[in-house]
C-alpha cells in the first residue's frame, strides 16, 4: 500500500512537475534562440500595456474583438504587471506551456496509462510545436488554446467512455474558456458543450438526464458568452461589437453557420459509435475506451475541418493554432491506446515527423522585429514634429497597440474605436493625424475597416493622405481653424 502510494507520488511528480517544467523551459530556449521572428508576448503585450495604464483603449481592446482573444491577454496581464518586457513574455509563454503539458497529463490519466506514456505524449507535443516551423505554434495563445482543447476533448471522450460527473465539469469549463481564445475556437467549444448531452443518449438512464448534462456542460459557455456581450455593451456600446468584423470579412452569414455546423456533422459517426458501445455495454456505465477513442479522433478531425473551412473563407490567420490543437488531440488519442511502450514511442516519432509536412507551408515571418516598430514610430514622430508642435497621432487598431509597445513618447496614441468628430472635439486646437495599418490578414478585421471602408487607400471624410511609412499610411484630420487660430493668423498678417 505504502509502496503504491510512493509510486503514485513519483509518477505525479514526473508527469505534473518535472517533465512539464523541463519541456516548457526547452521550448522557451528554442523559441528565443532558434527563431529570430519570435517575439514573446506579441499581441497581448500591447493590450496589457493599455490595461495597466487604465485607458479606455485597453478595455476596448480586451473585449472588442473575437480575433484578438481575451483569454491570452488576461493570462498575460499578471506577468505584464510584475515583469518588464521581454521577461514578461517569456514567463507567460513558459507558464502557458506548463499548463498545456499539465493538460496532456489530465487528458491521458483517466485511461490509467503509465506515467511514461504521459511523458512521451508531452515530449511529442513539445517536439511538434518546435519542429512545425509555424510562428503560430510558438505563441502563448496557442499553448493556452491547445491545453484547453485537450481538456475539452478528453473530457468529452472520458464522458463517452466512463460517464463520470467530473468529465462534464471539465469539458464544460474548458469549452467556456476555449471560446475566449478567439473565433476559430467558437465551433470546437460549442461542439464540446453539445456533445455532453448527445453523448449520453445511448444509455436509457443517462438519456433521461440529458437536460442536466446540457445545463452543467453548456452553462459555463453560455455564461462566458453572456459576460462577453455585457462587457461589449458596457465598454463599446454594442453587445455584438466583437462579432461585427466577422460579418464584414465574411459577408454571407450562412458560411459562418456552416463552420459551426460542420464539426457536428463530422462528429456524427463517433456519436453513433458511442451510442452503439453504450448499448452493448449493458449494465456498465459509459461506452468504454473504444467510444472514447472514436470521440477523440472525430474531435481532432472536426478541428482540422474547421481550420480548412476558415481558410476557404479567407480567415486563415487564426487557423494555425487549430492545426496544432488537432494534432495534439490525435497524439493524445494515440497515447491513450493500450499498446507496448516501444510501439507508442515509434508511432509518436512518426507522427511528429509527419506533422512537419502538415506545417510545411507555414510562414515563420509573422512577427515584426522591434527595430522596425521603433523606426516607424520615430519616422512618424519626426514627420509630425516638422510640421507642427501641437500634433497628435492616433495609431489605429490592435496593430497600433502592437506598434506602440515599446514607445515612450507622447505624440503617438492608441485608438481602437475611431470617431473623427469626437477626436476633433476632444483635442480642439491641435493638429490631428491618423495612422492606418495595411488591411491584410487579421488586420482586415479591425473595426476601422468595416466602419470606414477604403480608408487605407482613399482616406475619408476630413482625412487627407499625408505620408506612407512602410505598411502604414498617415492621414491628416482636416479641421476648420478655431476662432483663436483665426485671430492669431490675423494678428500675424497685420504685423
Amino acid at each position: 500500500m505504502e509502496q503504491d502510494r510512493k509510486q503514485y507520488r513519483l509518477v505525479r511528480l514526473l508527469t505534473g512537475g518535472v517533465t512539464p517544467l523541463v519541456l516548457a523551459a526547452a521550448l522557451v530556449a528554442f523559441a528565443r534562440w532558434h527563431d529570430p521572428s519570435w517575439e514573446p508576448g506579441a499581441q497581448a503585450a500591447g493590450i496589457c500595456r493599455e490595461l495597466i495604464a487604465g485607458t479606455t483603449e485597453g478595455r476596448q481592446a480586451l473585449f472588442g474583438s473575437c480575433w484578438s482573444a481575451p483569454l491570452p491577454v488576461l493570462a498575460y496581464l499578471p506577468f505584464a504587471w510584475l515583469l518588464p518586457e521581454p521577461a514578461a513574455g517569456c514567463a507567460a509563454f513558459f507558464a502557458a506551456w506548463l499548463f498545456a503539458f499539465w493538460a496532456v497529463r489530465e487528458a491521458i490519466k483517466a485511461t490509467g496509462q503509465s506515467g511514461w506514456r504521459i511523458v512521451m505524449a508531452q515530449a511529442a507535443i513539445a517536439a511538434m510545436a518546435a519542429s512545425s516551423g509555424s510562428v503560430h505554434a510558438l505563441r502563448m495563445a496557442t499553448a493556452l488554446t491547445a491545453g484547453l482543447t485537450l481538456l475539452a476533448a478528453a473530457g468529452v471522450a472520458d464522458w463517452a467512455a466512463y460517464r463520470r460527473l467530473r468529465d462534464v465539469v471539465v469539458a464544460g469549463t474548458a469549452s467556456a474558456l476555449l471560446a475566449l481564445c478567439g473565433f476559430p475556437t467558437f465551433a470546437p467549444a460549442a461542439l464540446a458543450a453539445l456533445l455532453l448531452p448527445l453523448g449520453a443518449c445511448g444509455d436509457r438512464e443517462t438519456r433521461a438526464r440529458a437536460s442536466a448534462w446540457l445545463l452543467l456542460g453548456a452553462l459555463p459557455l453560455a455564461y462566458a458568452a453572456g459576460v462577453w456581450m455585457l462587457l461589449n455593451r458596457l465598454v463599446l456600446g454594442d453587445p455584438l461589437f466583437f462579432l461585427r468584423s466577422l460579418g464584414h470579412v465574411v459577408p454571407q452569414p450562412w458560411k459562418l453557420w456552416f463552420v459551426l455546423a460542420l464539426p457536428v456533422a463530422v462528429m456524427a459517426p463517433a456519436l453513433a459509435a458511442t451510442w452503439f458501445c453504450d448499448a452493448r455495454n449493458g449494465g456498465r456505465s459509459g461506452g468504454g475506451p473504444t467510444a472514447g477513442s472514436a470521440t477523440l479522433i472525430a474531435f481532432a478531425v472536426s478541428l482540422l475541418a474547421c481550420g480548412k473551412v476558415l481558410q476557404v473563407l479567407g480567415l486563415a490567420w487564426g487557423t494555425g493554432a487549430l492545426d496544432v490543437c488537432a494534432l495534439a488531440v490525435l497524439m493524445i488519442a494515440l497515447a491513450r491506446l493500450s499498446q507496448p511502450l516501444y510501439r507508442l514511442a515509434a508511432s509518436l516519432i512518426l507522427f511528429v515527423w509527419l506533422s512537419t509536412f502538415w506545417f510545411g507551408g507555414a510562414s515563420s515571418a509573422g512577427g515584426r522585429a522591434p527595430e522596425s516598430r521603433e523606426a516607424v514610430c520615430q519616422s512618424v514622430e519626426a514627420y509630425v514634429n516638422a510640421r507642427t508642435p501641437y500634433g497628435r497621432v492616433f495609431v489605429l487598431g490592435y496593430t497600433g497597440l502592437d506598434l506602440l509597445r515599446g514607445y515612450s513618447g507622447e505624440r503617438l496614441m492608441a485608438n481602437l474605436d475611431l470617431h473623427v468628430g469626437a477626436l476633433r472635439r476632444a483635442y480642439k486646437g491641435q493638429n490631428l493625424y491618423v495612422l492606418v495599418p495595411r488591411p491584410v490578414g487579421a488586420v482586415r478585421a479591425e473595426s476601422v475597416f468595416w466602419r470606414y471602408p477604403g480608408i487605407y487607400e482613399r482616406g475619408g471624410d476630413r482625412l487627407l493622405f499625408a505620408e506612407a511609412f512602410g505598411p502604414w499610411h498617415l492621414f491628416e484630420v482636416v479641421t476648420a481653424p478655431t476662432q483663436e487660430q483665426l485671430d492669431e493668423w490675423k494678428k500675424a498678417r497685420e504685423r
Partner: protein, 480 residues
C-alpha cells in the same frame, strides 16, 4: 408503531448529578460562555478605532486598502472553493460500504450504539422518530436510544409517557437550567450513554436504514485517530417552495462536495448538526459539547482537530426536513452564523497555540471555513451595492476606490467567483440526482441576499444575546 402490552415502559430518569457544563467549568478557555475575552475586546476596539481614525485622516487611501484586502480575500475564497471541490473527487473523500460488503460481515456481534435524540416542544414528531429509529437495520438489543427531553416541556414529556417505547429506548429528562441549548441536553445524554459509539439525530431525521452498520464499519476500517464519522445530510421536502429548493441545493453542495473535499484534504471539518457518529470514550474525554455555543457541532469539529483527531465523511444520508418558512429559516440561519462567530472567537483566544495545534494548513482552513464564510456573508451586500451603483450610474467615486489591479481582481471575483459559487450548487444537485432543482440554482443570488440579512442579524445578536437559541420549527411539511 404498535403499542403492545408486553413492551416495557421505560421509566423517566432524572439527571441532577451530572454537570452538563463541564467543559465551561473545567476548560473555560474552550467555551463560548464568555463570548469575547478582555484581550479580544481590547484588540477589536483598537482595530475599530484605528480604522475610524484612518478614515478621518486618509479617507480615500483607507477605503482603497480595505477594498483591496476584501478583494484579495474574495479571490482566495474562490480559489479555495475550487480546490476543495476538486479534492472531493478524490477516492479518499468519503468512506463507502456497499450492501454486499455489509452482508459479507454478517453474522457478527455488533457493538452497542448510543443514539441521542434531543427534542424540545415537538410532541408531534415523537412517533415518527421512534418509528424511523426502530426501523434501522441494527440489532435492537445493541441500540441504546436516549430521547432527551427538557423537564419543563410538558407536552413532549406527556407524549413520551403515553407512548410504549420499544426495547433499547429510554427518556432522559433534562433539568431546567441556563443555558437552554441542545448541546447541554446532549452532554447529559453523553454521560449516560452505554454504547461504544454514539450518534445524534434530530427528532425529524430519517437516517438510511444501514447507517449505524456503515458507521461501525467505517470506524473499524479507519485508523484510531478517526474518532468522528459524519454522514451526509439532505432534505426530504426539497420541492415544497423556492426556499426549500435553494436550501436543498446548498446542502447538497455542502455535504456531497465540500465536506468530502475537506475530508480528502485532511482539513478541520465543521460538523453537521446531526448524524455525526463518535467514539463515545473520546467524546467523553473531550467533555462533550460546549453548552454555550449555538453551533456546538462546528465547535466540536474544531476541538477534535485541535486534539489531533480526524473526521471522515461516510457515504450514507440522513434525510431531514428543510425549513420552509422564511421567518424560521432566518432564525435558524442567524443561529448558525452566530455560532460560527462564537466558534471563531473562542478558538482565536490564542492564535499561536491554535496554529500549533492545528498545523498551518488547517489553521488556514479554519479561517477560511469558519471566519471566512461569515465574513463574506457580512461584506457581500456592501460589494453588491457598489457593483450595482457602478453599473447603473458609473460614478467617479466608486471607480476611484478600485485602482488597476484591484479593479481587475474585483472583476474576476464578480464574474468568475460568483459563477463558481452558483455552479457548485448546480453540481451538488446533479450529484444528488435532483435535476429539477438545477434551474433554481441560477437564482441563488436571491438566497445569498437572505443569508446576508441573517448574517447581519447574527452579528448584532452575537453582542446582544450570544446564548439565545432560536429553535427551528419542524413539522411544517405536513401543515403545508
Amino acid at each position: 408503531m404498535s403499542e403492545t402490552s408486553d413492551q416495557k415502559r421505560i421509566a423517566v430518569k432524572t439527571t441532577d448529578e451530572i454537570d452538563p457544563l463541564e467543559l465551561s467549568h473545567r476548560r473555560p478557555e474552550w467555551s463560548a460562555s464568555q463570548p469575547l475575552t478582555r484581550t479580544q475586546k481590547i484588540v477589536t476596539l483598537a482595530l475599530l478605532v484605528g480604522a475610524a481614525a484612518a478614515f478621518v485622516c486618509w479617507p480615500l487611501r483607507t477605503a482603497q486598502t480595505l477594498i483591496a484586502a476584501c478583494t484579495a480575500f474574495y479571490v482566495v475564497l474562490t480559489v479555495y472553493k475550487f480546490v476543495v471541490i476538486r479534492a472531493s473527487l478524490s477516492p479518499a473523500a468519503s468512506l463507502r460500504f456497499s450492501p454486499s460488503e455489509i452482508a459479507a460481515r454478517e453474522p457478527r456481534e455488533w457493538p452497542v450504539f448510543s443514539i441521542l435524540v434531543p427534542m424540545y416542544k415537538e410532541p408531534e414528531t415523537l412517533r415518527q422518530m421512534v418509528a424511523s429509529l426502530t426501523a434501522m437495520d441494527y440489532p435492537a438489543d445493541r441500540k441504546d436510544v436516549q430521547i432527551l427531553l427538557e423537564a419543563d416541556d410538558a407536552a413532549t414529556l406527556e407524549a413520551a409517557r403515553a407512548l410504549t417505547l420499544p426495547p433499547g429506548f429510554r427518556v432522559t429528562e433534562i433539568p431546567p437550567s441556563f443555558p437552554r441549548t441542545k448541546p447541554k441536553a446532549c452532554n447529559i445524554g453523553l454521560h449516560l450513554a452505554k454504547g461504544e459509539y454514539l450518534v445524534i439525530y434530530d427528532a425529524e431525521d430519517l437516517p438510511e436504514k444501514d447507517q449505524l452498520k456503515k458507521a461501525v464499519m467505517a470506524f473499524e476500517a479507519s485508523p484510531a485517530n478517526v474518532v468522528c464519522v459524519q454522514s451526509r445530510l439532505n432534505y426530504y421536502n426539497p420541492r415544497q417552495n423556492a426556499l426549500t429548493r435553494w436550501f436543498t441545493a446548498e446542502y447538497s453542495a455542502w455535504f456531497d462536495l465540500q465536506l468530502p473535499g475537506l475530508a480528502a484534504l485532511n482539513a478541520v471539518i465543521p460538523l453537521g448538526g446531526t448524524s455525526n457518529h463518535f467514539r463515545t470514550r473520546v467524546l467523553q474525554e473531550l467533555m462533550g459539547w460546549d453548552a454555550y455555543n449555538v453551533t456546538e457541532d462546528c465547535d466540536l469539529g474544531v476541538r477534535l482537530a485541535r486534539a489531533g483527531y480526524a473526521t471522515r465523511m461516510l457515504e450514507t444520508t440522513t434525510w431531514e426536513e428543510a425549513c420552509s418558512d422564511l421567518r424560521f429559516w432566518i432564525k435558524q440561519r442567524t443561529r448558525w452564523q452566530k455560532g460560527y462567530i462564537q466558534t471563531w472567537f473562542v478558538h482565536m483566544r490564542n492564535p499561536v497555540k491554535l496554529c500549533r495545534e492545528l498545523g498551518f494548513a488547517n489553521f488556514l482552513h479554519y479561517h477560511l471555513l469558519i471566519g471566512g464564510v461569515t465574513f463574506s456573508v457580512l461584506v457581500n451586500p456592501i460589494f453588491w451595492l457598489m457593483a450595482a451603483i457602478w453599473f447603473v450610474f458609473r460614478p467617479e467615486g466608486v471607480a476611484m476606490l478600485f485602482p488597476g489591479p484591484v479593479f481587475a481582481a474585483g472583476a474576476v471575483c464578480l464574474f468568475v467567483g460568483n459563477f463558481v459559487f452558483i455552479y457548485v450548487n448546480l453540481l451538488g444537485c446533479c450529484k444528488r440526482n435532483k435535476d429539477d432543482l438545477m434551474a433554481w440554482c441560477l437564482l441563488t443570488p436571491l438566497y445569498w441576499l437572505m443569508m446576508s440579512y441573517s448574517g447581519w442579524r447574527a452579528f448584532v445578536q452575537f453582542f446582544r444575546a450570544p446564548f439565545v437559541w432560536e429553535k427551528t420549527q419542524h413539522g411544517l411539511v405536513g401543515k403545508s
